[in-house]
Symmetry: C2
Subunit: 163 residues, 2 copies
């Protein structure tokens, strides 16, 4: 045989350019969105994402584990994040009735108000620095690509991925 299983298939020049653009672009983009949200609404991107998730469900409440899975952060991380948000009054925690172990995070009125104030800022940023910059078709491709990534990585780390 002329090849073996350990032989590396490198990226070609074009793929490498794309990969690096993604790495650097993501760094700059997240940095910028985070900065804007912080300066104008005293909120980080992870915190904002949690507000969004909670605002979308019936009763504006979610089990911690579900919340963690939905943003793909570790349970520990969500515990810390929610603790900070609770201190700021954006969220409160209540025991779960049906499961003695469970805790539900509930969006407060203040949390909802902060979200409503922050959302326009955030969306404007996402448009200005990403969506409005590129072909609709190219952006759709980004969606396909990262849906594929998400699907395989969630499979890999079966459902209770959460980590």
């Amino acid at each position: 045989m002329t090849t073996n299983a350990t032989e590396t298939r490198w990226l070609d020049a074009e793929q490498q350019r794309s990969w690096r653009a993604y790495l650097v672009g993501t760094t700059l983009l997240m940095d910028r969105l985070d900065r804007d949200l912080r300066e104008q609404h005293d909120l980080s991107v992870p915190e904002y994402e949690i507000l969004v998730r909670l605002s979308e469900v019936e009763g504006r409440r979610m089990r911690m584990a579900v919340l963690a899975a939905s943003v793909s952060h570790s349970r520990s991380r969500v515990t810390h994040t929610v603790a900070r948000m609770e201190k700021d009054g954006l969220v409160k925690r209540t025991a779960c009735e049906s499961d003695g172990r469970g805790v539900e995070a509930v969006l407060t009125d203040k949390g909802m108000a902060v979200l409503e104030a922050a959302a326009p800022t955030h969306v404007a940023g996402v448009r200005q620095h990403l969506v409005d910059l590129v072909d609709e078709e190219d952006f759709a491709a980004v969606g396909r690509v990262f849906n594929a990534v998400t699907d395989t990585l969630i499979e890999a780390n079966p459902e209770a991925d959460i980590r």
Copy 2:
């Protein structure tokens, strides 16, 4: 007039799905690549990126600010990261001859060896969890998109962006 400047143009359902897929997918992907590199080579992704940058230039040495700009991290962050890497013997720092303020990071032989060992792992991961998962054309679109993102965000924060 029926609209004003502050009216928010929300993302449509499709754009929103793409945006969230990108957020979640990026989280999972980076997490996974980082984990693999850590477990197998005791290296984080940011550290790996620095090794790559250094390995590519003449003399395997770079001014700290140039290095920072090339990975789009803050100077402070690169100072800390390089400090850790220096402690591990992957890199060493030398004063810059032409500029008394300057410091150059130099890749050591050990650093080069670690990079050569880690590269196949990393590339395999990038392929397995991203590149090989999707249409070549879609991946090229990702490249175009994030090149656009990078370009506008670098402009915005003129060159000495570095932060």
